[in-house]
């Protein structure tokens, strides 16, 4: 197989990735886009396997079989509500792949026949141009080092993110000194990288780089709160793309560069979208805590004596006379797995001639588009899912808003209370509706840890209970009436 044909095929695979992402810009073409992208991957893999440099298929077959089974099992078994964890985990594996590839590339040049760990630490006699002549050798070395650094940070960082989202790690703790400790780790890593470039024959520099980078990933993410994980994942996703692009520079491979850059920009843009929607800077997410409330807000003072609660059947009576209802889902709907119940409630209302729409906040839930995926699972047509900017003007003409498991994204303090930590975050103005029904288990706060004055408003009714159960009861009551 001539190398130019291989390269042409790689270019073709790159085009398929581009077309795949283009497909993702519309729901109607998204499935096909994903298929195109997968086809590009298949083509790239097949042409690589036909490449004459590959002679030993043992490790490849073992790896593909093992990885394929694990990947397929995870993908087919995961519940839609656990999507954030899944993405975190996959992302970690991507980082791991970059890390191991770059290391393999390095050690294949060193050509150490190591049987014990100590063998690795022996310096090797290496020609000056082992990694390529002149500037090219430098670039290759820098790329290897950066790929290792980024890949390792992505690996451990994503695993921590996974553990936090899965509830395996609950505490947020970091190195003593916080960002300073991490800064020292980073500096250490960069020093190791520098030593490696200056003296590539010393494998110990690379081992140090790997170790420091793995630790860095760990301690970068451990201090960050579980709810901020989506931002972290998007950022790490972008890193893993960059690592792939860098690997492309090492191997002189166009498809790695194209695909890696696409992933890199995607992660960065999603990160930015989330930060804007939360009205926080990326620095604040990564290194800060939520800004301490200007004046501590006293939940009791806000709620005392002003909260009205109701039973699901009372709400059903209210729905009966409504013309237009908007459903606002949040993280609690995912927790309660209430998406199917919500769809049934909406169906039941629609069969009574009530106009029903869903108001979707860009950061409702725990990852971008989280609510859309859950409601799509429950077969809610995506035309009914209305974005914040378009639903907000309609609340004044809405008879009842049903807020299910959403909290922060409806908190009027974000709009009115200057000095509040979430002040300035754009919200769904559900309080402008004629009646508001809030379904949650208690008055306890959401992700931002703040009380919500919405719950104490005159036209708000609280329905306490698990989201799924409450909604099911409402539907039953509505159907019987």
């Amino acid at each position: 197989m001539s190398s130019s044909i291989v390269n042409l095929v790689y270019l073709f695979a790159g085009v398929l990735f581009i077309l795949g992402i283009k497909g993702l810009t519309k729901p109607a073409t998204a499935v096909r886009g994903n298929m195109l992208s997968a086809t590009g991957m298949l083509i790239a893999v097949v042409i690589t396997l036909l490449n004459s440099e590959i002679v030993n298929f043992t490790y490849i077959i073992a790896g593909v079989l093992f990885g394929g089974v694990v990947g397929a099992f995870m993908a087919l078994r995961i519940q839609m509500t656990s999507m954030p964890q899944m993405v975190a985990l996959l992302n970690g594996f991507g980082g791991g792949a970059s890390l191991t590839i770059a290391s393999a590339e390095y050690f294949s040049v060193l050509n150490i026949d190591a049987h014990t760990f100590a063998d690795l630490l022996q310096p090797v006699a290496l020609g000056a141009d082992a990694f390529g002549t002149g500037a090219e050798g430098q670039v290759t070395l820098v790329s290897i080092g950066l790929t290792i650094l980024i890949g390792a940070v992505t690996l451990t960082g994503s695993l921590v993110a996974f553990a936090k989202l899965q509830g395996l790690v609950k505490k947020n703790f970091g190195l003593p000194g916080g960002p300073i400790g991490n800064g020292l780790l980073l500096i250490g890593g960069l020093v190791a990288l520098g030593c490696m470039i200056a003296n590539p024959s010393q494998a110990v520099t690379v081992l140090a780089l790997i170790a420091l980078a793995l630790l860095l990933g760990l301690f970068l993410v451990l201090p960050i709160g579980g709810a901020d994980m989506p931002v972290v994942i998007a950022l790490l996703n972008s890193y893993s793309g960059l690592a792939a692009a860098l690997a492309g520079f090492i191997l002189g491979n166009t498809v790695l560069i194209v695909a890696g850059s696409l992933v890199g920009t995607s992660g960065l843009i999603l990160t930015k979208i989330m930060c804007v929607a939360m009205n926080r800077s990326l620095g604040n997410v990564l290194f800060g805590k939520m800004a301490a409330a200007g004046e501590a807000v006293d939940a009791d003072e806000i709620y005392a004596g002003k909260v009205t609660s109701a039973q699901p059947d009372e709400v059903a009576m209210m729905l009966e006379v409504a013309k237009r209802v908007v459903i606002v889902p949040g993280y609690g709907m995912a927790m309660a797995q209430a998406q199917h119940a919500v769809r049934e409630l909406a169906d039941s209302m629609e069969s009574k001639g009530i106009e029903v729409e869903y108001g979707i906040h860009p950061v409702a839930g725990r990852m971008p588009g989280h609510m859309n995926v859950l409601l799509a699972e429950a077969e809610v047509p995506y035309d009914n899912l209305v974005e914040m900017d378009r639903i907000n003007p309609t609340f004044e003409d809405t008879d009842v808003v049903i807020v299910i498991g959403a909290n922060d994204v409806t908190n009027p303090m974000a709009r009115d209370a200057e000095g509040s930590p979430i002040y300035g975050m754009p919200i769904l103005n559900v309080d402008k509706a004629k009646n508001v029904v809030v379904i949650k288990r208690s008055l306890s706060p959401g992700f931002a840890g703040l009380p919500n004055p919405l719950f104490a408003m005159d036209h708000t009714l609280m329905v306490y209970g698990d989201g799924k159960k409450a909604v099911l009861e409402m539907t039953t009551a509505l159907n019987q009436s």
Partner: protein, 93 residues
């Protein structure tokens, strides 16, 4: 050196193209976008195959290559499958 600059040019253009494409993805599809691009980043599988399949390299390289192939395959298979599962749930009215 000239090749390096061409690779760099390719990188820069891909970044621009990435920005133009991604900003067009509607919020509805942001979760599938994340898992889908995740799968794309599994393109490192190509590099992994080269590392795992060489015969001239020492054992250590093959083992690293095996790990790389495993990781990248999980990423690719898992990413595409889960994205497909999500996307096939999206339906028009």
């Amino acid at each position: 050196m000239e090749i390096l600059i061409l690779l760099l040019a390719l990188f820069v253009l891909s970044l621009f193209l990435g920005v133009e494409l991604i900003v067009k993805v509607p919020p509805t599809l942001h979760t599938p976008l994340m898992s889908g691009t995740n799968a794309v980043s599994g393109i490192t599988l190509v590099g992994a195959l080269l590392a795992a399949g060489s015969d001239t390299s020492p054992m250590l390289v093959n083992v690293l290559g095996f790990l790389a192939v495993t990781f990248a395959t999980i990423n690719v298979i898992g990413g595409y499958l889960v994205t497909n599962r999500m996307l096939s749930m999206f339906k028009r009215k």
